[in-house]
């Protein structure tokens, strides 16, 4: 084996444009999925604490099914099942179509974790806060939106940061969903140049560039937004 290829960083330079394009795809997947997962997760958390038993049951059922299904299966279901087999497409342009199916799978999956993090946050808000909200005539949804959730969110900023980091890394699984992001690009380069350590290091560094600041930002935010009780 020629050891020089093991320490050859030149493929990273040669394919720099493709690598950047791959990470840009990763970022687009992460940001869109994060926003949608946050929205869906909040709705699910609201359902799980709702006074209506049907809503509570539906929220719990969703979380337990989705959380216990491997993400790979969720994404295969989206790309191969719903898109290819059942011909449910977002767009005639394959890359657009598979992007949105990947976003759908990622956000549906991540929402279950957002929901559970938020629910633990809701449990830290004292019952008295909700009682005081109801006592001035706020409806259930108003109490949740104006009093309980804002406090719950602030206590779970750190765990939400972890979920976002996990989501960033989970986008690598989109490789099974026919959409080209950074991990797919890395696999392509392994095929083109051979599986060398420098390529691996380059991509690992790329993911850290995305996730480390995310972690620091959420840590800072959690401190800043803490509610004094």
């Amino acid at each position: 084996m020629d050891t020089s290829t093991l320490f050859d960083f030149s493929p990273l330079v040669q394919d720099f444009d493709k690598i950047i394009a791959g990470f840009w795809a990763t970022i687009r997947l992460t940001v869109m999925s994060a926003v949608l997962a946050l929205v869906l997760g909040t709705v699910l958390a609201a359902m799980r604490v709702a006074p209506t038993p049907v809503l509570r049951w539906a929220g719990a059922a969703y979380v337990n099914v989705v959380r216990n299904t491997p993400l790979t299966l969720v994404l295969i279901l989206c790309a191969l099942g719903l898109s290819d087999a059942m011909q449910l497409t977002f767009s005639d342009e394959p890359s657009t179509n598979y992007y949105w199916w990947a976003v759908t799978g990622l956000s549906a999956y991540t929402a279950a974790f957002v929901c559970e993090a938020l629910r633990s946050g809701i449990n830290t808000v004292s019952v008295g806060q909700a009682e005081a909200a109801r006592a001035i005539g706020l409806t259930f949804t108003q109490s949740l939106r104006l009093v309980v959730l804002p406090q719950a969110f602030r206590t779970v900023i750190s765990p939400l940061g972890s979920i976002l980091i996990a989501l960033t890394k989970n986008t690598t699984i989109v490789i099974v969903g026919s959409y080209i992001e950074a991990a797919a690009q890395m696999k392509q380069m392994f095929d083109d140049y051979g599986g060398t350590i420098p390529i691996f290091l380059g991509f690992a560094f790329g993911y850290m560039v995305l996730t480390l600041p995310t972690g620091f930002f959420f840590g800072w935010l959690a401190k800043r937004m803490a509610v004094a009780r």
Partner: protein, 251 residues
């Protein structure tokens, strides 16, 4: 007792019963509160006083009997219940100010979101009320920055901001340091003098003597005695009340 001449009681409890599991906490309670009346509920701990107070705005549901507020039976759930609660102020033992909102926002939240007042109008009224309870200078602080007595006075201002038909006080001074009790009681006495309808669960016998129109003595989930403060404190009729008063008034 009825200052505006309206003879129908504001609150009427008829044969109200409530259980917590096997515990029968409210036993056939019949009670009325007239408009403008200050009703003080006293009695030993665990006797059902707080539960009784909380049934009036349905923070506690009841198992039997009925409660009529301002001529209407209490709604079960939903918007009707929210509307009723907007008309019934509540002051809690543990203040329960919204921890993530400033003092001013605590007082304006209900008027803006429930009464649909403009922010300017709600702000103006909030500052008047905070002025009245002596906290105006702290309007932009957060609840955790205030003392217990100050927080409880803000809680009273928050209740007043809704222009309620009555205010429920659930042991408003029990969580306070002794030196802060008086500042809260002073605000309550002045409200009573102005004719606010109040139902007050308290251990403050001084307040009961000074401000109550009627005293209800509760023990073991029942109304044991109901009388004017002078007669109740001067000549309690039941042994249970005599026993209770001897325990709290001797030291």
């Amino acid at each position: 007792m009825t200052e505006n001449g309206d003879a129908t009681p504001l609150v009427k409890l008829e044969n109200v019963n409530k259980h917590f599991g096997a515990l029968h906490v409210l036993k056939d309670i019949n009670l009325t509160v007239s408009r403008g009346e200050v009703l003080v509920v006293i009695g030993p701990s665990g006797g059902g006083k707080s539960t009784l107070c909380r049934t009036v705005n349905r923070l506690e549901t009841i198992d039997g009997g009925r409660i009529v507020f301002d001529g209407q039976p209490l709604p079960d759930e939903g918007r009707g219940l929210a509307r009723l609660r907007a008309d019934v102020g509540m002051v809690f033992q543990s203040f329960n100010l919204f921890a993530h909102k400033t003092i001013r926002e605590n007082v304006t939240l209900g008027p803006i979101r429930v009464r649909r007042k403009s922010r300017e109008e709600a702000d103006r009224r909030a500052m008047e009320l905070l002025e009245r309870v002596g906290i105006a200078a702290q309007a932009d602080k957060y609840p955790a920055q205030l003392s217990g007595g100050q927080q409880q006075r803000v809680a009273i201002a928050r209740a007043l901001a809704m222009d309620p038909k009555m205010i429920l006080f659930d042991e408003p001074t029990s969580a306070l340091d002794p030196e802060m009790v008086q500042e809260v009681l002073d605000v309550m006495v002045s409200l009573a003098r102005e004719g606010m309808t109040m139902m007050v669960v308290t251990h403050e016998m001084g307040f009961a003597r000074r401000a109550a129109n009627r005293v209800v003595f509760m023990a073991d989930g029942q109304v044991v005695e109901e009388n004017s403060p002078d007669e109740f404190f001067g000549a309690p009729r039941t042994d249970r009340a005599k026993d209770f008063l001897s325990k709290i008034l001797t030291h």
